[in-house]
């Protein structure tokens, strides 16, 4: 079963992250690199991407003639996606364990401790035939 682990933060979280002291920053970067390698070594890795900071994030809607209308004003509480990992594991329990490991990534200041990681199942094809 495939699961996506999502890491999110508000704009304030991203700004605080950008202010981390060198030591904390390096510890975090090293952890992320090791974490991806761990997933690969365990044979569960499917994909991962990190996203650019939300500074330039835009909300786009279709206007007249499907012309894009962009808006860059977001409520302060808005959670932005920072990055995700897709893993292929035996079941939800294994996904939770891996998410907890990610949650314990080294932080800094007020962001030290356990970071919330959202775990979502990635949809698959058709299930076992239901006999109706």
């Amino acid at each position: 079963m495939k699961y996506m682990l999502l890491m999110t933060g508000t704009k304030a979280d991203f700004q605080a992250y950008a202010q981390w002291p060198k030591q904390d920053l390096q510890a975090n970067i090293a952890f992320m690199r090791a974490f991806s390698k761990e997933l690969k070594d365990a044979g569960v890795f499917v994909a991962t991407e990190g996203l650019a900071f939300p500074d330039q994030a835009k909300m786009v809607r279709a206007g007249q003639d499907a012309e894009p209308i962009t808006d860059g004003v977001f409520p302060e509480s808005k959670e932005f996606l920072a990055g995700y990992w897709i893993i292929d594991v035996e079941g939800p329990e294994e996904a939770y364990k891996i998410a907890a490991r990610l949650s314990a990534a080294p932080g800094s200041g007020t962001m030290r401790g356990s970071m919330p990681i959202e775990v979502r199942q990635v949809m698959s094809g058709a299930p076992e035939e239901s006999r109706r």
């Binding site: 495939k2 890795f45 292929d88 949809m123 094809g125 058709a126 076992e128």
Partner: protein, 411 residues
Amino acid sequence: MDIPIERLLRELTPQVLGAIVRRFGDFAAAEDAVQESLLAAAMEWPREGLPDNPRSWLTQVASRRMVDQIRSESARRRRENETALEAARTSQSRAADLREDDALVLLFMCCHPALTLSSAIALTLRAVGGLSTAEIAHAFLVPEATMAQRISRAKQSIKSSGIRFQLPTPEERAQRLRAVLHVLYLIFNEGYTTSTGPNLVRTELSHEAIRLTRMVHKLQPDDTEVAGLLSLMLLTDARRLARTNAEGELIPLAHQDRALWNQEQIAEGVALLSATLPKGSVGPYQLQAAIAAIHDEATQAHDTDWPQILALYDLLRRMSGNPMVALNHAVASAMVHGPAKGLELLDVLQADTRLADHHRLDAVRAHLLELTGDRAEAARCYRAAAGKTGSLPERNYLLTQAARLSANEAS
């Protein structure tokens, strides 16, 4: 690659691997060497034509790889591994020794309970099925490096658990064979249940599972559960073309175009099952095959012999603690005794923690509620099921059912 050559290579894989493992002992290295020989054959044979004896061709190429590897390791360690080299030298002269049950021994190794199911599946497909890592990765929609890692970890587990290249003891045999059948069943399901529309790669997994189960059946013709599983696969796979439409949308059994069912496969599955059931010792796979056969033999959905299906689910339920069996039993009860009886049984199942959060419970409840005429509650249950399923085609199906009922409600 040429289809006949590919088929031949897959058939020869366990035979060649068996011979190499018996000669050199090291399963992990032998498996790599055999993969290399398959690759060499896949490149050379279409160009140069089939060798006179394809099996000994592969065995020789794989042996040579093993010898090369042992030599280079010996050089590195600066000491000769005399026994292994001796074995290697004699291997060239000895006729390729074929042992019929090598494939079975390999299956017992690859499906050993010490391995996780996903690694057992991957290793079985490569070592016994002869599929390349890239093909397996593609079928399971994961990167090739991830699949390679999974296979290498499976081999490490075999090594560290001290699993030997030999048949299990008579005391262990039945249980170990069940583990093999379970892995083959999972491979089949992976291909059957998740292949929608033109996704042929995954369809191939079902065909591969059928081929391997056929092979086990040939080696163990008297085992009734092996025959039962093969029959179940044939009877289920026979409906493949009818279970989704061109857009990949699910079509429930009752609405399938039965003209699309593969009659040849149904006839084979039924004949196999009919020859097996009288032998006695009826197990879960035979019962499931018998249920599939009843569905397959009904020319129209309303001709389905539900009382007989109910009787079979009754037996199956006594045999297995699987909550899905209990759920299907409730469906069959509803078909025989009416939806109220089915709903009554569902209320009991609701207490089972393994089912309480399962979308199938809600989906079945929705279907039965619709039969009682309670459309609003049925729509609510279809939506609850949609929220829980991990399958996109099924979610689309469930939401469409809910929308259909709500639209009728409004009109």
